[in-house]
Structures are given as structure tokens and as C-alpha cells.
């Protein structure tokens, strides 16, 4: 045996025995000393032009926006301003788009279809179903998103939003979440799909999952109109006209705040149950303030957020429109599929203080929350046989007249309980398909996608069920 050159076995054996001597934290120490050496070399070699570490202006702003006295009021004021600008600013273009796409273009397209001799059912499927649903989603969704996202991105770009996360982190820490969840949640008030994408700023795996799963509890832009409409029709109607606006606005705010409370509750229980073992690494960088690059911001937020989300919504709205139209027009023995479904789900709906029409509307409107109310109205006409309203089976519509609408809904068996439970269910139900798809793309996990889809809808069933029973019990006693 050659003693000069050790055999591979010898080397392996030596390595084996050395391994025990080196110990287990060898990798950690090696990595730490490499980092440290690199930092020391950099410190020696790099000279910084200005040793003064932070601008005094930055420091002053920081002291102000994170102070005990002004931190929270300032934050509330800014967010209120953003929401107000969004709601006020979106009204006009939304009405304009709806006039153009729904009231003007749709009849023209349908008339055109008839003149070139399309069979009635192809014409209906294309223009009453697919086109109408898509146009509806665009006219309701586009203007607020095109205002909200750039405003939000400007605040982000300026460096203010990380300070919001810094201020609110303690609250979120107590429920096992990350302060930046405040940002993704606020984004969720605009659009849940965008809110889910916004959770990318959270770099800790566990906290990010919590933020994704609970984003749906932020009442999104597609659900605000439902809330406002139902509150105005049913809750505002309870009090004299001069108080109606205030009460209905307050009831919508109560629902939104309830959503925030639910998201805290769910974050808390998730971090203590299914997400207990996930890795958590907190850190939050507070970047220096800088003047926002307005045009670039508007460009990227329109391209990155608005258009991508809109495109996804459109791809889901097209088939949904087709399904809505078909379900109302394909009949067996004179009864349409939609009516079969409504009759089938009616007992369950009534038990929950809702009705079959609402449940069917929520099933076919999974692609977009925007079309829930138009679908509900169309289906109610279908069921009650009120021929004076609507534009035929499968054609979604909305009417400007409150009296007409409330008469129709009363004919459909609606009560104050139905309205309240619809508001609750609109808050607590599965995310729209765009959001579900986004959750899957972000988590790459079927399990988390299913949990974030089913958890809210189960909660919705439970909450509406209990509200309905207690309501009826109290009403029975009174």
C-alpha cells in the first residue's frame, strides 16, 4: 500500500472524523465571518461623499408622521382623501362609460347582429350575454381603479406607505401578521386581486400567506356599489329623508369596518392554527423620502395594476356573461335552468335570510362582483314574471329609479333582513375568480387557494345563518 498518497477511503474517513470536531454551527460561523469580512472591506474601501447620515428634513417628516399625536390622524386623513378622490372622481367617467358601452353601443351591436341575419340565440348569447357582462365590468371597474391605483402608487413612491406599516405594525403583530398587511389591505379596498399582488412587499412567508388569505375581507371596489345601493334602498328608507343619506353611508362604513375586524380575527386564528409552523422573518425598510416621479408612476400603475387586473376580469367576464344568458334561456319543459337552480337553492337561501335568486347570482357572478346586482335584478324579473321591467331573459339590467327597483325586490320577497344579510354576504363570500386565480399564481399552492376561497364563504353562511335566526326569533317575540 502506498503511504505517500492517501486513498479516497482515507480522505473520506478523515473527513468523517473531522466533521464531528468542526461542530454544527460551522456553516453559520463561516457565513457570518464572510459577511463580516465583506462589510469590513467595503467600509475601508468605500468613501461616502456626505457622512451626514440622513437629511434633517427626512428626520423631521419622520418624527411628524410617526409621532403619537399626529401619526394616526394624518394617516386617516390621507387615506380618506384618497378614497374620496376615487369615489368622487370615478362617478363621472363611470356614468359616461356605462352610457357609451351599455346604453348606446349595446343596442347598436344587437341591431347590427339582427341585420346581418344572426339567429336570435347567437345574437343574444354574444351581445346580451358576453358583451353586456364584459361592458358592465369595465364601466364599473375601470374608472375607480385608474384613479385609486396611481394615487396609491404615488404615496408608495414618496415613501409614506412604509411609515403607515411602521405605525400600525404593533396592531398587526398581536394577531401574528405583518404591518405591511395594512398596505395590501388598503389596496384590497380598491381590488382584491391587486391587493393579493401587493402582498409581495411582505417578505416573510407566514405573514404573506396571512395577508393573502385575509385580503378578501377588505371590501373591494366591485362590492362598494352593491353595499351602497342596498343600504340606500332598504336602510336609508327606515328614517326620514334628511337622515337617509347619513344612515345608509354609516351602515356601509359599519360593513367595511366589520371586514377589517374579520381580517384581524382570521389573521389571529390562522397564525395560531394552520400557519403555526410557517417561517416568520420580520423586517421593514423605511426608505428615504423622495419626490414622486409622477408620469412614470401613472404609467406603471396603469400598465402593471389597472390593465392587468382589468384584462383578467374581462377574460373571466366573457364566459360568465355567456353562462348567465344561457342559464336564463335554455329551458326544459318551459322552465329555465336558472329557475330550476333558484327553486333548488331557495330553501337554503331562505334559511340564511337570503333567497335562491341571491345565491344563484353569487354562483354565476363568481367572475366579477360588479354584476351581482344586475344579475339579481334580471333573475328576480325572471322569477316574478314582472314583464314591465328588464330587457328579456338573460339580459342584465339596472334601473336608475329607486321606486321601481324596490317594488321589484319587494315582489321578489325581499325584507329588511334580506338586505342586511345580502350586505353581510357581499362582505363574506368567496373572492372573485380573478382574485382566486391571482392567489393561485402568487402562492402556487392549491391548498392555500382553496382555504382562501372557502374560508370566507363558510364564514358568510355561518354569520348570515345566525343573524337570520336571531332576527326571526326577536321578530317573533316582539
Amino acid at each position: 500500500m502506498n503511504t505517500q498518497t492517501p486513498s479516497p477511503e482515507d480522505i473520506l474517513n478523515t473527513a468523517q472524523s473531522l466533521r464531528w470536531e468542526v461542530g454544527s454551527d460551522f456553516h453559520e460561523h463561516l457565513m457570518e465571518s464572510m459577511y463580516t469580512d465583506a462589510a469590513r472591506i467595503a467600509d475601508r474601501a468605500v468613501t461616502r461623499p456626505d457622512e451626514k447620515p440622513r437629511f434633517d428634513l427626512d428626520r423631521t417628516i419622520d418624527r411628524l408622521v410617526t409621532s403619537r399625536a399626529f401619526g394616526f390622524p394624518l394617516m386617516l386623513a390621507l387615506l380618506t382623501l384618497v378614497f374620496w378622490l376615487t369615489i368622487a372622481g370615478a362617478n363621472v367617467p363611470s356614468r359616461w362609460l356605462s352610457w357609451l358601452l351599455l346604453d348606446t353601443l349595446q343596442p347598436i351591436l344587437k341591431g347590427f347582429g339582427a341585420t346581418i341575419g344572426l339567429p336570435w340565440w347567437i345574437n343574444g348569447l354574444l351581445f346580451d350575454g358576453m358583451y353586456l357582462a364584459t361592458a358592465w365590468v369595465i364601466s364599473v371597474m375601470l374608472p375607480p381603479m385608474a384613479i385609486f391605483f396611481p394615487l396609491f402608487t404615488l404615496l408608495e413612491d414618496y415613501g409614506y406607505l412604509p411609515r403607515v406599516a411602521f405605525n400600525l405594525d404593533n396592531m398587526f403583530r398581536k394577531v401574528g401578521a405583518h404591518g405591511k398587511q395594512a398596505l395590501s389591505m388598503t389596496m384590497g379596498f380598491g381590488c382584491n386581486a391587486a391587493g393579493v399582488v401587493a402582498t409581495r412587499v411582505i417578505d416573510s412567508p407566514r405573514e404573506r400567506l396571512i395577508a393573502i388569505i385575509t385580503n378578501n375581507f377588505a371590501l373591494c371596489n366591485g362590492r362598494w356599489p352593491t353595499q351602497i345601493l342596498i343600504a340606500t334602498l332598504f336602510i336609508g328608507g327606515l328614517v326620514p329623508a334628511q337622515l337617509a343619506g347619513l344612515l345608509s353611508a354609516m351602515s356601509v362604513v359599519v360593513i367595511a369596518v366589520l371586514g377589517v375586524l374579520f381580517s384581524f380575527l382570521v389573521s389571529w386564528s390562522l397564525s395560531r392554527t394552520v400557519l403555526r409552523g410557517e417561517v416568520s422573518t420580520f423586517s421593514l425598510e423605511l426608505p428615504p423620502y423622495r419626490p414622486p416621479r409622477i408620469w412614470q408612476t401613472i404609467y406603471t400603475s396603469v400598465i402593471d395594476r389597472t390593465l392587468i387586473v382589468l384584462w383578467r376580469a374581462v377574460t373571466f367576464a366573457l364566459p360568465a356573461g355567456a353562462i348567465i344568458w344561457l342559464s336564463a334561456n335554455i329551458t326544459f319543459g318551459g322552465v329555465s335552468i336558472a329557475e330550476y337552480l333558484i327553486n333548488f337553492l331557495n330553501p337554503a337561501g331562505l334559511l340564511l335570510g337570503l333567497n335562491g335568486v341571491i345565491l344563484v347570482a353569487y354562483i354565476v357572478a363568481i367572475p366579477a362582483n360588479e354584476i351581482v346586482i344586475p344579475t339579481v335584478l334580471m333573475l328576480t324579473v325572471l322569477v316574478t314574471g314582472t314583464s314591465s321591467m328588464g330587457a328579456g331573459a338573460g339580459v342584465m339590467f339596472e334601473t336608475q329609479s329607486k321606486v321601481e327597483m324596490i317594488t321589484l325586490l319587494h315582489a321578489g320577497g325581499w325584507t329588511l333582513l334580506t338586505a342586511i344579510n345580502l350586505m353581510l354576504f357581499s362582505l363574506l363570500h368567496n373572492p372573485c375568480s380573478t382574485t382566486i386565480y391571482t392567489i393561485y399564481k402568487e402562492t402556487r399552492s392549491l391548498k392555500w387557494t382553496l382555504i382562501s376561497t372557502l374560508l370566507p364563504v363558510v364564514m358568510g353562511f355561518v354569520v348570515t345563518f345566525f343573524v337570520a335566526q336571531v332576527w326571526r326569533l326577536v321578530a317573533g317575540i316582539l
Binding site: 410617526t66 403619537r68 421593514l284 423605511l286
Partner: protein
């Protein structure tokens, strides 16, 4: 429409049933699952582990000790011993019994699974350290040798579990190092914790509550038969000898001498104060530790406490020119030496500010 009172009662009954079945840990369903896992194989493997432990600690295993360790009665214990002998894992010599070489290898594989799983829980998950042992007790019976090798590779072939126990290699090789009990180390000699025994649970919980971890540096201040007083991680600790017996140390290796400075926790700095990092305590592991190092929190770095958030937690620190918010539970795991204002003033004079 059903009577609301009846439907409420039915719903309440369903809720109660669900709670009874699925209540975390105590629910019937979880218990049933646990009982199913506690089958013959589990008990047999636990028996092997117990006998192996006795042999390592030079104690004689007996039917009584086995029954006690596994929580079964003596008759069942005898049955399991007979079963082990049948499989040629165990040999009797009169009253006593000992493991055959095959039996010892088998026991080592179970120990390997247990300790690797604990390492995995410590490095790659967010489970609390109090939960490691219990979980590893379950998973040690479910991992195949191929699983174990994959896991070991993924973790970088670790040599020790998070409590400081050596992990047997795939070929069953294991080396126990010399350790000094905390009571046996001289006063004022720097030493490093290399092992914290995780059984019994109550004692371990107390050590965890003290914030003691494998890898921390200890300096004994007073050692008597009533109590042991020592510095560790910037705090003074006092332990009863019974508790201290579960902590073992080694003399501080040469290359870590520079970490042996008193220091204090980063959370001790008030806004406006600064400190120089001595090190991140071993409690911060895996991804979280790497994140802090990525941010530039390394031995020698100067950290300024810049401001508190309105509610006091988190706190924003200035690290290498960047403003970074850390939560108190992280910042208290970073040891710093206070940098005094006069030194800062001096450096300000030089830079001309």
C-alpha cells in the same frame, strides 16, 4: 321556513359536535389519529430507543423502566421484549437484556430521524422550540431512510440537533463529545453552551424561558450547592443546581473569544443612542438570521436607535445608512456594546459636522 329556535339549537349542536371532534389537539379526531399512529411499530421503536438510551447512560434497562418510559403495563412490556427478541433485535442474558448489533443500528436510525427532524423544525420552520421534541417523537417513526438522507442533504448534513445532541450518520456512526456540566465550570471562565437536555419537559421549559440556547457564551459568577449565578446573553441568570444540571458547556473556543464581552440587548438603547453589534444570539435561526445579516447587522456594525413607532414597537434603527424597523422580540436578540456620545462627537468633529 323552519322554526328559528329549532334551527339555532340544531346549529349549536352541530358546533358543539365539531368542537368536540376537531378542537385543536384535544379533539376526538386528533386523539383518534394519534392513537392510530401509536401502533405496534411505534411502541416497538420506542422500546428500542429506551433500551439504547439506558445503554448509553450505563443503566440497566428493566421491564419496569421500559413500562414506565412507554406508559404501558408490565405485561405488555414483556410482550414487546419477546417480540424484539423474535426479530433478533434483542438478546436476553438471564434477567437482563441488551441490544444486538442489528438492534443498535435500528435504534440509531430512530435517533437519527428524531434529531434530524428537530434540526429541520429549528432551521426551516417557525415552530416554537417547546414543540420540537413532541413533533419529532411523532415523525421519527414515519421517515424512511431515503427520506432521512434527503432531509439531511437539504439541511447541509448537520452534525448536531438544536439541543446539541450529535445526529448519527446514515451508517450509524455517532460521536459524543466531552461536556462539562454548568455546575462544574470554574468561576469567571468563559464557556459556551453545547447541550441543553430537552427532558423532562418542565425543566426544559424553564431553560427556554430563561432564554438559554446552544451556542450562547456563559460566564459563571457564583457556584454553590444552592444556586448557580452566571452571565449569559447580556443578562444575569440564577438557576437551582437541579435545573442547571441539564445545561452542559465546553471551554470557549479560540475563534469566538472576541464575542466574550458583556454587551447588552439592542432594545436597551433609547432613541438617539447608538451601539456596536457584538453578535446575533443563537435563538435567531435560519431564514430570520440570514435576513438580519442581509440587512448588514454584523459584528462591528454601528446601529443607531432612530425612533419608536407611536405604540413603542417596532423601533426604527439606522443600520449602514438605511432606516430599518425591527420588532422588540428581534432587537432583544442582538447584542451590542454601547457607543458613547463622546466618541460619536469626536467622529463628528472629524467629519466637520
Amino acid at each position: 321556513m323552519p322554526n328559528p329556535l329549532i334551527s339555532l339549537l340544531v346549529a349549536a349542536a352541530i358546533t358543539l359536535l365539531a368542537v368536540w371532534l376537531f378542537r385543536p389537539e384535544r379533539g376526538l379526531f386528533w386523539r383518534w389519529q394519534q392513537a392510530r399512529q401509536l401502533n405496534g411499530r411505534t411502541l416497538r421503536e420506542d422500546a428500542l430507543k429506551h433500551i439504547h438510551q439506558c445503554e448509553i447512560h450505563n443503566r440497566l434497562p428493566s421491564v419496569n423502566s421500559l413500562a414506565g418510559a412507554l406508559g404501558i403495563n408490565n405485561n405488555t412490556a414483556v410482550e414487546y421484549l419477546a417480540n424484539l427478541e423474535e426479530h433478533q433485535l434483542l438478546e436476553f442474558s438471564g434477567e437482563n437484556f441488551h441490544l444486538t448489533p442489528t438492534g443498535r443500528d435500528y435504534a440509531l436510525q430512530i435517533i437519527r430521524a428524531h434529531r434530524l427532524w428537530e434540526r429541520y423544525l429549528a432551521d426551516a420552520t417557525g415552530f416554537d422550540e417547546a414543540e420540537w421534541h413532541g413533533q419529532a417523537d411523532l415523525y421519527e417513526h414515519q421517515l424512511s431512510p431515503a427520506d432521512l438522507n434527503n432531509l439531511s442533504m437539504r439541511l447541509g448534513n448537520p452534525t448536531h440537533d438544536p439541543h446539541g445532541d450529535p445526529i448519527p450518520t446514515a451508517s450509524g456512526e455517532i460521536v459524543y463529545q466531552e461536556r462539562i456540566p454548568l455546575a462544574g465550570i470554574g468561576v469567571d471562565k468563559p464557556a459556551r453552551i453545547v447541550h441543553i437536555e430537552d427532558e423532562p419537559e418542565a425543566v426544559y421549559a424553564q431553560l427556554v424561558a430563561e432564554g438559554l440556547h446552544v451556542g450562547m457564551i456563559v460566564r459563571v459568577l457564583e457556584s454553590s450547592s444552592h444556586r448557580i449565578r452566571f452571565w449569559c446573553g447580556g443578562d444575569e441568570h440564577t438557576l437551582a443546581p437541579l435545573i442547571a444540571a441539564n445545561v452542559s458547556l465546553e471551554p470557549l473556543p479560540e475563534e469566538l473569544q472576541e464575542q466574550d464581552q458583556p454587551g447588552e440587548r439592542l432594545t436597551n438603547l433609547a432613541p438617539g443612542e447608538a451601539g456596536q453589534v457584538i453578535g446575533i444570539m443563537p435563538r435567531i435561526r435560519g431564514a430570520e438570521r440570514r435576513r438580519l445579516m442581509d440587512l448588514g447587522i454584523l459584528p462591528g456594525t454601528i446601529i443607531h436607535n432612530e425612533m419608536n413607532s407611536p405604540s413603542g414597537d417596532p423601533t426604527a434603527y439606522r443600520v449602514r445608512g438605511a432606516l430599518i424597523a425591527l420588532r422588540a422580540m428581534q432587537a432583544e436578540q442582538i447584542r451590542v456594546a454601547r457607543v458613547h456620545e463622546s466618541e460619536e462627537l469626536a467622529s463628528d468633529v472629524f467629519t466637520g459636522n
